[in-house]
Symmetry: C2
C-alpha cells in the first residue's frame, strides 16, 4: 500500500522546493552533503543501492513506478506526494520522481580491503558525460571500483548521474584523491598500473595475445592483462601529461587502424576495461 509523509506539496515556490532544486549545484551539495537524483531509472537504482534521504513523487508517477515506491517503503524512506508543478520545479528532468540522496563516497581503504582486481582511475576528467559513461562502462566490465582524482568533475553533478545510468550506485566510486596516492596504494596492493595513452609502447591487442599464466610474474616483460590491474585514463582534451604517465608501470595504446587520431575517452576506456575483463576470465 502506498502511503505518503504529510499532505501533498503544491507550492512550487516553497523554500523546500528551492532547497531540493539547489542540490543540482555543486556548492549546495557540498554544504548539505546531499545530492539530487532525477527520473525513474536513476531513482530506482539509488533506492536499491545507495543511501537516500527522501523521495518526492507525483500521483501519476507513484502509480506508474509503484515498484520504486514500494522499494522505498521497504527501506523506510520518507516519500512525499507532490504536484506536477512542484516536482518539475525541483528538476526539469524528473519525469515525476526525484530523490534526495546522501553523499557517502567510498574511501580508498574500503576499495583496498575488497582486494580489487580491476580498477578504473580517471585523472582530471572534467566532462560530466564522459565521466558518467566511463563509470557505466567500468560497472558493465565488472570493475571493482572507480577512482576520480582531485581535479575531476563532481560525480554528483546531475549530468554525470544521468550518464552513469545507475552505475554510480552499483560500485564504489572514490573521489578527491591525488593520482600518485592512488597509484602508490594500488601498486602496493599488488595491482599493475597501466596508463591508456596513444603514445603507449604496448599495443592492447598484443597484450591480449600473451595474457595469462605464462607472462605472469615477469616485471621486465609486457604487462599481463590477466593480472590485477588499475587503468589510468586522462583528461578528454589533453590526455595524460608526462608526469602522470610516469606514475604508471606501463603505457598501453588502443590500436588505431583508420585515420582517426584517437578514440574518445569513454570508448577507449570501455575497450581497455573489456580487454582486462576478458583476460581475467
Amino acid at each position: 500500500m502506498t502511503s505518503f509523509v504529510g499532505p501533498e506539496l503544491t507550492n512550487p515556490r516553497a523554500e523546500r522546493v528551492k532547497a531540493v532544486r539547489a542540490l543540482s549545484g555543486r556548492s549546495m551539495r557540498q554544504r548539505t552533503g546531499r545530492y539530487l537524483v532525477e527520473g525513474p531509472q536513476a531513482v530506482r537504482e539509488v533506492v536499491r543501492f545507495a543511501s537516500v534521504h527522501e523521495l518526492y513523487v507525483t500521483a501519476a508517477a507513484a502509480d506508474r513506478y509503484s515498484d520504486v515506491i514500494s522499494d522505498a517503503h521497504e527501506r523506510g524512506l520518507p516519500v512525499h506526494l507532490a504536484s506536477d508543478e512542484v516536482v518539475a520545479a525541483m528538476s526539469p528532468d524528473a519525469q515525476g520522481l526525484v530523490a534526495v540522496a546522501n553523499v557517502s563516497s567510498a574511501t580508498l581503504d574500503d576499495v583496498l580491503a575488497s582486494r580489487p582486481t580491476l580498477v578504473a582511475i580517471l585523472a582530471s576528467v572534467r566532462d560530466p558525460g564522459n565521466a558518467g559513461a566511463v563509470i557505466r562502462a567500468a560497472d558493465a566490465a565488472g570493475a571493482d571500483a572507480v577512482v576520480l582524482t582531485l581535479e575531476s568533475v563532481d560525480v554528483h553533478n546531475p549530468k554525470t548521474i544521468r550518464a552513469t545510468a545507475g552505475s554510480l550506485f552499483h560500485l564504489p566510486v572514490v573521489t578527491g584523491i591525488a593520482l600518485d596516492t592512488v597509484t602508490d596504494a594500488l601498486r602496493a596492493a599488488g595491482l599493475a598500473v597501466l596508463a591508456a595513452d596513444g603514445s603507449g609502447a604496448h599495443d592492447l591487442d598484443d597484450l591480449l595475445d600473451v595474457a595469462g599464466p605464462a607472462g605472469a610474474g615477469d616485471r621486465s616483460a609486457a604487462p599481463d592483462l590477466a593480472a590485477p590491474t588499475a587503468w589510468v585514463f586522462g583528461n578528454e582534451a589533453w590526455g595524460l601529461p608526462a608526469h602522470e604517465l610516469e606514475l604508471a608501470d606501463a603505457v598501453v595504446r588502443v590500436p588505431i587502424r583508420g585515420q582517426a587520431e584517437s578514440l574518445n575517452l569513454a570508448t577507449a576506456a570501455a575497450v581497455c576495461l573489456y580487454a582486462s575483463a576478458r583476460a581475467q576470465r
Copy 2:
C-alpha cells in the same frame, strides 16, 4: 604565402554571414547541399579529406593555423579573411576558422564496390553526440564504412561533426537508407549481419574465443568474427525492436559482468567493432 579572396569581411550582420550561420540548421543544409565545419581541428580534416566550398578565417587564426591555410591554398580553395566578430557570428565554436563544405554522401554502391570487411550500421540513432562517437570509433577500429538509416540524426549537424573529431571525413558515411535495404545488400555481398543487443544468444567473448578459420563457412554454428561483418547498432533509448533484430543473421550481446543493465551506444559499438577488428587481423 597567405593570400585571401577579396577584402576583409567586417560586417557581422551581412547577408553572407547570416547565410553561413544558417548552415548549422538542417533545412538550410538541405536547401543548399552545404554544411558548416567549425574550429581548427575539424576544418583541418575537412580540407584534407573532403569537398570544401570555401573558408573564413581571422587574421590571428590564419597565423596560428597556417598549415590549414596552406593546405587550402594547395587545393585551390577560396579563403576569405574576416574579422573576429564576423567569424564569431558565423559560429560561436569557430575559434577563428570555419569552412563551408559540400555534402557529398557516399552511396551504398560505392561501399559495396570497395569490398568492405567491416561496416557499422546505425539504426534510428537520434543523438548527435552518440552518432558522432560511433563514427569516430568505427574509423579508429578500421571499419570500411558507416551507414545511418533513414530515421537517424543528420550527420552534418554541428554536434555530430564535433563528436566525430574529423572521422566523418575519413571514411564513407552513407545516410538516408532503409535498414532492410542495407542488410540485404551487405549480406548479398558476403558480409554476416550481426545485431548488437543485450538479448543476444551469442556472447561476444565466446565468439572471440572461436573466431578464425575453424569456424568459417558453417552457417549453422556461431557467427565467425573473423569473417566480413556488418554490425547493427540500435537507438540509444530503445535499442533494436524485434522487427529490426530479425534482419540480422545473429544477435550478439556484450557481456555485462557488474550490475549495469547495458552499455551506452558508443561504448558498446566500440567494444564490438574492436572485437571484429581483432578477430580479422
